[in-house]
Symmetry: C2
Subunit: 159 residues, 2 copies
DNA sequence: TTATTTTTAGAATAATATTCAATTATTTTA
DNA sequence: TAAAATAATTGAATATTATTCTAAAAATAA
């Protein structure tokens, strides 16, 4: 694929900063804050979306409100050939699996999983992971408490 | 603190599902999709926010657009006493650290860090982690490629 | 069942989104 | 460097949405 050109100036950064903190900030407010016309902001936001700089807008929902109380990280060793990621894509299809990363040095993946509780985790490992061909072994790390969990990026202050 | 009551019906679930997929969906659209009055939806969304079921609205930004190309997970062993999390809070203050989890079985934390590249990671470990009292050791896992990275929760289909 | 509380609809108003033509700024290229 | 071309911004007009509030309906409690 063609290399995308990201060409961001400090106004874009400011927009990104605002949106990252509150994706429902309306155009008019952003325009006021930056001292520009709403139409100009709209234009820029559209461009940020088109260029896939802004990837999506999410509501962050409290997991406990949906009774999803257990967070785990699982290291998975597979027989996937380097460069191929068959198992990874199967893992990625599972809705409880929030993240799948191909990691260095271990012929494996690190996944982040959210389940109801430990029985949900067991179910998932037994019924779903257990049925994926090519998984050689797993090592599970249980999260006792999450102190911070964000996706915010550090946005440059200057141009 | 008092135990919060989450009492969600299937309309709330639908709202959450819509918002989770696109936090900028406007009230009128949600109302149309659910066949309800905009004022009723507004009321419900406000309540979801007040009850801290919706925690925040984020724009997900492409890390490469901000030249943040390296993702790492670091296991950190500390001398933190069980129940106390002094080091954890210091880690959480660092903007490059997106996640801090207290994990079972290792007297330690798992953190997720996004830096420019490997030199940024080295800087961070040397200049920042290196200066935190109470860190006994670290083990770093480098992400080669991310196949999936979302915060979406599984939302019940029925009541 | 009645009383109380919560939720919803509907209408009215305030505010915002969106479009577009004209202007200004920026970049390209001759 | 100047002219030409391109990109970005403004401002005004219109369409759409947000927000507020009251009355009705629905759900819940007594």
């Amino acid at each position: 694929m063609a290399k995308l050109e990201y060409n961001l100036d400090h106004i874009d950064y400011q927009i990104l900063r605002i949106m990252q903190n509150n994706a429902r900030t309306n155009n008019a407010d952003i325009a006021r804050e930056l001292g520009m016309a709403p139409s100009a902001i709209l234009e820029r936001v559209k461009k940020l979306e088109q260029k896939e700089i802004i990837l999506q807008y999410n509501a962050k929902i409290n997991p406990h409100a949906l009774d999803q109380n257990l967070l785990s990280f699982i290291f998975i060793k597979t027989s996937d050939i380097i460069g191929e990621q068959g198992v990874a894509y199967l893992l990625a299809e599972m809705p409880e699996v929030q993240e799948v990363h191909d990691i260095a040095g271990d012929d494996g993946y690190l996944i982040k999983v959210r389940t109801n509780d430990s029985s949900g985790l067991v179910d998932l490992m037994r019924n779903t992971l257990g049925k994926i061909e090519g998984i050689l072994s797993t090592r599970t790390t249980i999260v006792l408490e999450t102190i911070k969990e964000e996706q915010k990026l550090v946005i440059p202050t200057k141009e």
